[in-house]
């Protein structure tokens, strides 16, 4: 099993969710995060004073998948989240040791 963490632009969340549903992924976790990368921050102006905001809003999606579908999932996220502009985010793939479904106690792939 793999654990996939994707950092994407906020307005791409729905596209990514649909794309994941399209490759058979039934559950995921999304959270609002702030990131700093090559996109750098943005400048906001209030009453003529410029404020440098270094961390920009991003969405972090976490999804656990079977080894067999990892490539499909990563592709789906990459295509759905892509705007071909700087700041589109990153996808990380980690090894996942175990998974347990809280309600039934099922483990491993059955729990996903």
């Amino acid at each position: 099993m793999k654990f996939i963490v994707a950092i994407i632009k906020p307005h791409k969340l729905d596209d990514v969710r649909e794309a994941l549903a399209g490759v058979g992924i039934e559950g995921m976790t999304a959270s609002e995060v702030k990131g700093y990368g090559r996109q750098k921050g943005q400048t906001e102006i209030y009453r003529g004073a410029e404020y440098q905001v270094n961390f920009v809003p991003k969405i972090k999606i976490e999804v656990a998948v079977d080894d067999a579908v990892v490539d499909n999932v990563v592709d789906a996220i990459r295509h759905a989240a892509n705007t071909e502009k700087i700041g589109d985010g990153k996808i990380f793939v980690l090894d996942l040791q175990s998974a347990v479904r809280v309600r039934t106690g099922e483990t491993g792939s059955d729990a996903l």
Binding site: E44, Y46, G48, Y51, Q52
Partner: protein, 403 residues
């Protein structure tokens, strides 16, 4: 006593209290970091409560007691001698006392904008009380209580000098003595909720009808005209500031528009009993443009962290309006006309002298009050508290709960 006058001033009193609670409190609260939102709201609320009692105890007496040219004395302490039948002009004296109390509340509350996010709460309360007592109340007496500035012929209908110059200059001095927020000017965080600021500003606009039109102390033609010029100045101030931003940044911000509105209102305040609608338009536009430029100057050039621009908006607006009153009071320009024997030139001299005297009084006494109170109280919070935010450290609460 006159029923119509009484009814209008009852209404105005409620409107002016509404300017502070919650108008000004929200206006300021939106401009700070989310970790300090409650401390700013609490500053305004606590000032309202404590100054009310102080005004009842001695403030009103110092401002409106019989006294002499310099102060009203202590004869009306705790409303001594004022009962249900006492009359002030055509309204009950209790009502006049209440109306003036709402001014005494909002004036120190304006200064909250100079020191948020780093000052200690107990210092805010101590400073505000002493300041109302020895800076504000005497100036009220000089201008509105029959004191020496009234004798001189200073035109200040609703408080350009009494409210905005005193608060603005004191704010500047206090901000300099306190020092800037951590990271100022480059790395302070932007306003956390411009929406709250707009809501508060909108309440200020409405409340200002009570402030200016109520200052007629009657339900009469002067009140009608005061309301008219007040509204025109608010609108034109907002437009002026927005146009300045559009020219410079190609974007008109919400915070800019509402700040311009406040600038226009501060500018029209001293003039609202003297000028006509065209005067209101010119003063509003002038307030928007000049206050916009001074805001840049104070923060960018002089690096003074008068955090929410109290001096640049209120102090400068009040001064500008007080000077322009001398011009636009002229009948030729649609005003009510100068007093007998006065020319625009001589009236300008009186206005300038009034501003200088009150500015020096406010600045010097503020410095002295701060120096003395610093010996007994924590002036500024420590670095850790400032980073963490004052809400949790000083008040034990958080404005926003995320899980």
């Amino acid at each position: 006593m006159q029923g119509a006058d009484t009814a209008w001033i009852l209404t105005s009193t409620a409107l002016v209290l509404f300017m502070t609670l919650p108008g000004l409190a929200l206006f300021y609260a939106g401009l700070v970091r989310s970790q300090n939102v409650l401390s700013v709201l609490m500053n305004c609320f606590a000032i309202a409560a404590t100054v009310s009692i102080l005004w009842f105890a001695v403030g009103y007496s110092i401002a409106f007691g019989d006294g002499n040219a310099w102060w009203g004395g202590l004869g009306k302490s705790f409303l001594s001698g004022v009962d249900i039948d006492s009359v002030s002009g055509t309204i009950p004296e209790t009502l006049f006392f209440m109306f003036q109390m709402t001014f005494a509340i909002i004036t120190p509350a304006l200064i909250v904008g100079a020191y948020p996010e780093r000052i200690h709460f107990s210092f805010v309360i101590a400073f505000s009380l002493v300041w109302v007592l020895i800076v504000y109340a005497p100036v009220v007496h000089w201008v509105w209580g029959g004191g020496f500035l009234a004798e001189m012929g200073l035109l200040d209908f609703a408080g350009g000098v009494v409210v905005h110059v005193t608060a603005g200059v004191s704010a500047l001095v206090l901000a300099m003595m306190l020092g800037p927020r951590r990271g100022f000017p480059g790395e302070v965080q932007p306003p956390h909720s411009p929406g709250l600021t707009m809501i508060g500003a909108a309440m200020l606009w409405v409340g200002w009808f009570g402030f200016n039109a109520g200052s007629a102390l009657a339900a009469d033609a002067a009140a009608g005209m005061a309301m008219t010029v007040t509204h025109i100045a608010a609108a034109s101030g907002a437009i002026a500031w927005s146009v300045m931003e559009l020219i410079r940044y190609r974007k008109a911000s919400l915070i800019g528009a509402v700040t311009g509105m406040v600038a226009g209102l501060a500018t029209i305040t001293p003039a609202s009993g003297s000028v006509g609608p065209v005067g209101g338009l010119v003063l509003g536009l002038a307030g928007g443009v000049v206050c916009y430029m001074v805001t840049q100057l104070i923060k960018q050039r002089f690096k003074i962290d008068d955090s929410l621009d109290v001096f640049a908006v209120h102090g400068v607006g009040g001064m500008l309006g007080t000077m322009l009153t001398a011009v636009f009071v002229s009948v030729v320009l649609g005003g009510n006309g100068l007093a007998e024997g006065m020319t625009i030139g001589s009236q300008l001299g009186v206005q300038a002298l009034g501003i200088i005297i009150v500015a020096v009084w406010s600045g010097v006494l503020t410095a002295i009050i701060v120096m003395v109170l610093k010996m007994f109280l924590t002036f500024r919070v420590d670095e850790e508290t400032e980073v963490q935010g004052l809400d949790l450290a000083l008040h034990g609460e958080r404005g926003y709960h995320n899980m």
